[in-house]
């Protein structure tokens, strides 16, 4: 529970943070994002590019029309007495038609982009999730859950921003700049050169500003991180703060960090804010300079600048600096998207859990000849279908729950072994208990049976078959696990129990609940089995959650059970009530039990005492007590430390 809170909290912090400033290889990531988009939406993108071209051209022709309007229609008409608006109307209709085409193109391009961007995101999310489900447990051990979560939220979001907004805008801007530049050159070369000079100044100013604000943004991120860390710690320990009357000191320290963040946020935003006005106003200056020089040029009649051309040129001038402005605004979001994309691809590039198993689990039946045959029905007899490559034969071995560890060494990484030379024989139907202090390796052993982790050395056999040969899914299906941390999923109680076996009928679900004495409290819930639980079952007590997860194992009806502190949060009295159900659940199944409570352990067929990854004692309760070793010490609480 506590651990989960921390994870949730981490998620909160990560959520607030922004991507790290530096990314290596931005080009490669960009190419990869584009490649991903193009893979599925190449035709769409081509249409979009065409539409952008059409849209920009429509706009350009409209602006060019200004020149025609003034030079070819208005001025001649002003100077002559002939006021025939017919030709002008015709010209305007032509322009209008082009405009309409432009509008249509814009509409089409936007509509298509929705499909492209949302479709890409949908695909990415699905691929991410599918990948995530296939990753080995190790991945989840080594990555903060909050970080994984934030890939789905923040990082995907940055990509959305980039694909749906930045990219089209970039394209649009580039096409616009190019076509406007050409038009400007056509209209008047000297003015264009002046314009370009001003643009260079603008770019220079933006670069300076962006550099400055970038430096402060990094500082802001660092301060934000510090403050968030502090908040996280304090809010998490809020009750402790209260109990120790530490409020004032907490506020004091908070204010200090808050002030720092304010300073750096102010600095960072100051330069970022200034960038916009500078560009806009430099655009205006550009406009003014062009207007003045244009006026002079027009007046002196140099370079064939007519009034109409000047009008068109000035309008172009405006639409020339705007895209540059836009590009500089989009740059930030592209940088963020690249950082996000990097994390998304990092997850997608993780190696999935490998599964080279070929022995499968099937329903079986004993035929008249007394041999096992595969069966399509649910026969309650399971068999391992073992195909021998060497001679092409297939044989069936009944699943009985015979588990052997032969000299197993294991470490979470290759340097530090946490289990040493573990030998273990569990006969079908036996109850094997593990006891020992935290970190002795009890949970680790059970995690090897279901291949959450692969062993470094030794062998684990299940019904005589090396578990590496068994398909992971089938292996796990044959093992019912009740874990230390219970996890419930959003849904009804019924759905949560049915998680154990999806085709279980309502009756089977309820029978399983009754078997483990969960039926009582479920009936008392407002909607009984149809009560919806959310937020990992926060409304239920820890004990109730454990009962539900035991029921889940019961409904799965597996030949082997692994109970990892399954009843630790159920108080001793309730446990005694559950015990009957537990006993009937364990009956006939090989059961591995990890518990710290004597009552749970005592009647085991064999108790393994673990210390620092080794089995130091084994035997029945009575034998171990007799031995007066570690078990005896733990049990009586006599020995010190």
């Amino acid at each position: 529970m506590a651990e989960e809170k921390v994870k949730e909290v981490k998620f909160g912090r990560r959520n607030a943070g922004m991507p790290k400033a530096k990314i290596e290889n931005p080009g490669k990531i960009f190419k990869r994002i584009m490649g991903y988009v193009m893979k599925y939406y190449a035709p769409h993108i081509i249409v979009v590019i065409i539409c952008i071209f059409v849209g920009v051209l429509a706009n350009v022709q409209g602006t060019l029309f200004m020149q025609t309007l003034i030079d070819d229609y208005i001025l001649p008409m002003v100077n002559s007495a002939d006021h025939d608006f017919g030709p002008l109307a015709g010209a305007m209709i032509r322009v209008a038609v082009f405009y309409l085409i432009g509008v249509a193109a814009a509409f089409i391009h936007q509509r298509i982009m929705i499909r492209v961007s949302q479709g890409t995101l949908l695909r990415l999310r699905k691929e991410l999730f599918e990948k995530m489900e296939s990753l080995p447990i190790r991945y989840f051990d080594t990555h903060a859950h909050g970080d994984i979560m934030s890939i789905y939220t923040n990082d995907i979001d940055t990509l959305r921003q980039m694909i749906s907004q930045s990219l089209p805008q970039f394209l649009n801007s580039i096409v616009t700049v190019a076509s406007v530049l050409i038009s400007m050159f056509v209209l008047n070369v000297p003015l264009t050169l002046i314009s370009l000079l001003m643009v260079a100044i603008m770019l220079f100013a933006s670069k300076k500003c962006a550099g400055l604000s970038g430096r402060y943004f990094t500082a802001q991120q660092a301060d934000l991180g510090k403050l968030n860390g502090f908040i996280e710690e304090m809010v998490n320990g809020q009750k402790v703060v209260k109990v120790f009357c530490h409020e004032e000191k907490a506020v004091e320290e908070f204010e200090e960090k808050n002030e720092q963040l304010f300073q750096s946020a102010y600095n960072a935003n100051r330069f970022a804010n200034v960038l916009g006005p500078i560009n806009a106003q430099l655009g205006n200056v550009n406009y003014v300079v062009c207007a003045i020089s244009g006026g002079i040029l027009a007046l002196s009649g140099v370079a064939g600048l007519t009034l109409g051309k000047l009008a068109s040129f000035l309008t172009f001038n405006k639409s020339f600096s705007m895209p540059i402005n836009q590009i500089s605004m989009q740059l930030n979001s592209v940088v963020m998207a690249l950082a996000g994309g990097k994390r998304v691809f990092a997850l997608l590039d993780e190696d999935a859990e490998s599964d080279n198993g070929y022995v499968t689990l099937v329903n079986a039946d004993y035929g008249e000849d007394g041999r096992l045959h595969e069966s399509q029905d649910r026969t309650h007899i399971w068999a391992w279908k073992h195909f021998h490559k060497a001679d092409g034969t297939t044989d069936y071995v009944e699943v009985r729950g015979n588990v052997e560890f032969l000299g197993v060494d294991f470490g979470y990484n290759d340097d530090v072994m946490v289990l040493h030379d573990v030998k273990l024989y569990a006969k079908p139907g036996q109850k094997i208990a593990f006891v020992g202090s935290t970190g002795a390796g009890k949970t680790t052993i059970t995690n090897l049976i279901n291949r959450f982790y692969d062993i470094q050395d030794g062998k684990i056999r299940y019904d005589g078959i090396n578990i590496n040969k068994i398909k992971k899914g089938d292996l796990r299906r044959s093992l019912g696990m009740v874990l230390q941390d219970t996890h419930l999923f959003t849904g009804t109680i019924r759905e949560n129990i049915r998680f154990g076996r999806l085709d279980a009928t309502d009756e089977e679900v309820e029978a399983a609940a009754r078997l483990v004495s969960a039926d009582g409290f479920i009936q008392k819930l407002p909607k009984g089995y149809d009560t919806v639980i959310s937020g990992d079952g926060a409304a239920l007590s820890q004990g109730q959650r454990q009962l539900l997860s035991i029921a889940r194992a019961a409904v799965a009806d597996p030949p082997v059970l692994i109970l990892d502190e399954a009843t630790s949060s159920i108080d001793t009295r309730t446990e005694r009530i559950v015990q009957a159900g537990m006993d009937s659940l364990m009956k006939g199944r090989t059961t591995f039990v990890i518990a710290h409570r004597l009552s749970t352990v005592r009647n085991s067929d064999c108790i393994m005492v673990l210390e620092q990854g080794r089995i130091i004692e084994r035997g029945t309760h009575d034998e171990l007590i007799e031995e007066k070793g570690k078990y005896y010490q733990l049990y009586t609480g006599l020995a010190a430390g």
Binding site: R111, E133, N269
Partner: protein
């Protein structure tokens, strides 16, 4: 907020100035063309051009100032919001804390504040700018030609209505999208934290299917919402083009008939762009504001949350002794007496007694002791410490005298000494060592590389559960309290050490009243008296021997734990 009033005020002012200056430029343009180019007056061109340049530069200055003030105002707002929230959270009572999840509080302090900060900056800088630029541009247009300005007016009204309609529709969709997003995130989170369950039951495909449905839902909603949004652009363009054509047409006619000059027409066309850009800005602001309003609401919720516990007007500043009385105490977490978790509790505990509290999960043991240091207020009845109602004490005084070691305890990043000094800032190293010894923490501290200077990671992740508990006990001891409450605080400590701690406590601090909540009978059997709780009621309050004799419940637990030692000292 007040502190940055000046900045909040100056920002829009600068923005308005910038707008006006910007708007003057096209007007001057008209003059250059009509009076300069058309009339061939070079001097006029230069003079007006000079004005334009000055206007542009002043505009630049105003823009920069606006940006600077805006940054200051919004960063300041964020700082003050955080400060107000954090300050208020520190005033929260336990029941206030329970109401919000920690993750929720942290998101409010971080993400939500950032959202509001960005929105505020946007509002300051754009909210005045956009309408102003529409108004100024319209005015200018009217000055130049009232008849042609009517075209603008029509266009602005049309677009205004359209944008309003669009936004109200889109917002509805977006709200739905956000809800679906929550579903999706929940699904991911469940799978991340429950991955072992998913894998153990081989339910990967089942979960993938669930996720696929959730993400396809989002896809559909998003496409729907965005389809509405993209209408914006073409309609906007359509209007712009229509306005340009209309102005060109009517403008041309007017020029020909001498009612308008060419220069004026050009400046009208320049205004056209300005007006439409501003409208676009406005629509963006609307979206941003409505998105951040959810954040703002969440923030004010925290700021306005009133602490459920108030210090009395004339507080008692001294706790005379460690006696505790419960007088017909009823307690409910939600004030609803029907749902009381403590029912009619009457207890009389003498100063210096050691009291064990035992009972099943959910029997309200913790709730009972939490009332002593007034972490919650009773719903009915009263709790007295040192013969004074806890509600009459100054809270800090009370809590310094009643030390609680919570079930869910936390260490903070810093050295071990720093952590111990939470109990008493002035404690000397010797005192800290002493407390650690009593709590049996010194033995492992001494084994650590830096001993008392060892750095504890955030959340105490680099010490084991049992070590953490012992440090927490030592920390509480440094307060030198009159009452010490150990709420299942030695559950991760092995039986032998547990015993040593208890013995140390009674040897070193005999006059301190002690409450020991435990699952294990062995932890409480040596107490002077033991409270047996069940279902929110006291089912027995007596010595171990008497309870064994008279109390069936106690005997039950005792037997189930097999002579009091049947426990392998493991978990929580």
């Amino acid at each position: 907020m007040k502190e940055f009033k000046k900045d909040s005020f100056l920002t829009p002012f600068c923005m308005i100035l910038e707008v006006i200056l910007e708007m003057v430029i096209p007007l001057l343009m008209a003059s250059i063309i009509d009076d300069g180019v058309m009339k061939g007056d070079m001097g006029h061109i230069l003079m007006v051009g000079g004005f334009m340049l000055v206007a542009a530069l002043l505009g630049l200055l105003a823009g920069i100032m606006g940006g600077v003030f805006g940054a200051r105002a919004s960063a300041g707002l964020a700082r003050n919001l955080r400060s107000a929230m954090f300050g208020n959270i520190q005033k929260f009572s336990f029941s206030n804390i329970d109401k919000y999840s920690t993750a929720g509080l942290i998101t409010r302090l971080t993400t939500d504040v950032t959202n509001v900060q960005n929105a505020y900056q946007m509002i300051l800088r754009m909210c005045m700018r956009a309408p102003m630029s529409i108004i100024v541009a319209m005015t200018m247009a009217f000055i130049i030609s009232p008849r042609l300005a009517l075209i603008y007016l029509g266009a602005v009204i049309f677009l205004g209505i359209f944008i309003f309609f669009l936004i109200s529709r889109v917002m509805k969709y977006f709200q739905e999208v956000f809800e679906r997003y929550d579903d999706l995130n929940a699904s991911v989170q469940e799978n991340v934290s429950g991955i072992r369950v998913v894998k153990a039951y081989v339910r990967e495909d089942f979960e993938k299917d669930k996720f696929r449905k959730a993400s396809e839902n989002i896809y559909r909603m998003f496409v729907k919402a965005e389809r509405m949004i993209v209408l914006n652009m073409p309609v906007m363009q359509f209007t712009v083009y229509a306005v340009i054509l209309l102005i060109s047409w009517f403008g041309a006619r007017m020029i020909v008939y001498g009612d308008l000059t060419t220069g004026q027409m050009m400046s009208l066309l320049a205004y056209c762009m300005n007006i439409l850009m501003s409208l676009m800005m406005l629509s963006m602001i609307f979206v941003m504001v409505s998105m951040s309003s959810a954040s703002a609401k969440r923030i004010t919720e925290v700021i306005e949350e009133e602490s459920a516990l108030k210090n009395p007007a004339i507080p008692v500043m001294d706790v005379t002794d460690g006696s505790v009385q419960f007088d017909h105490v009823w307690f409910s977490y939600n004030e609803d007496i029907e749902k009381s978790v403590l029912k009619d509790i009457c207890l009389d505990i003498h100063s210096g007694e050691t009291i064990g509290v035992i009972g099943g999960t959910g029997s309200s043991k913790s709730s009972l002791v939490n009332l002593i240091s007034r972490l919650y207020d009773v719903t009915r009845g009263s709790v007295r410490v040192g013969n004074v109602d806890v509600r009459d004490y100054d809270m800090e005084v009370l809590r310094n005298q009643v030390a609680v070691v919570l079930q869910k305890n936390e260490l903070f990043s810093g050295t071990i000494l720093d952590n111990l000094r939470w109990g008493n800032e002035e404690a000397s190293e010797e005192e800290c060592r002493r407390a650690a010894e009593i709590a049996c923490a010194d033995e492992f501290i001494e084994r650590m590389p830096d001993k008392y200077e060892t750095h504890i990671e955030q959340g105490g992740t680099n010490v084991s559960g049992g070590q953490k508990q012992r440090l927490c006990i030592a920390r509480a001891l440094l307060k030198k309290p009159k009452i010490l409450i150990l709420d299942d605080s030695t559950s991760a400590v092995d039986t032998a050490t547990d015993k040593k701690i208890r013995e140390g406590l009674s040897r070193e601090l005999p006059h301190m009243t002690r409450f020991i909540i435990a699952q294990r009978i062995s932890s409480v059997e040596n107490a002077d008296r033991i409270i047996v709780m069940e279902d929110g009621r006291v089912k027995g309050f007596d010595t171990h021997e008497n309870l064994l004799r008279n109390n069936e419940l106690y005997r039950d637990v005792y037997e189930s734990q097999n002579k009091g030692t049947g426990d392998f000292d493991e978990k929580k």
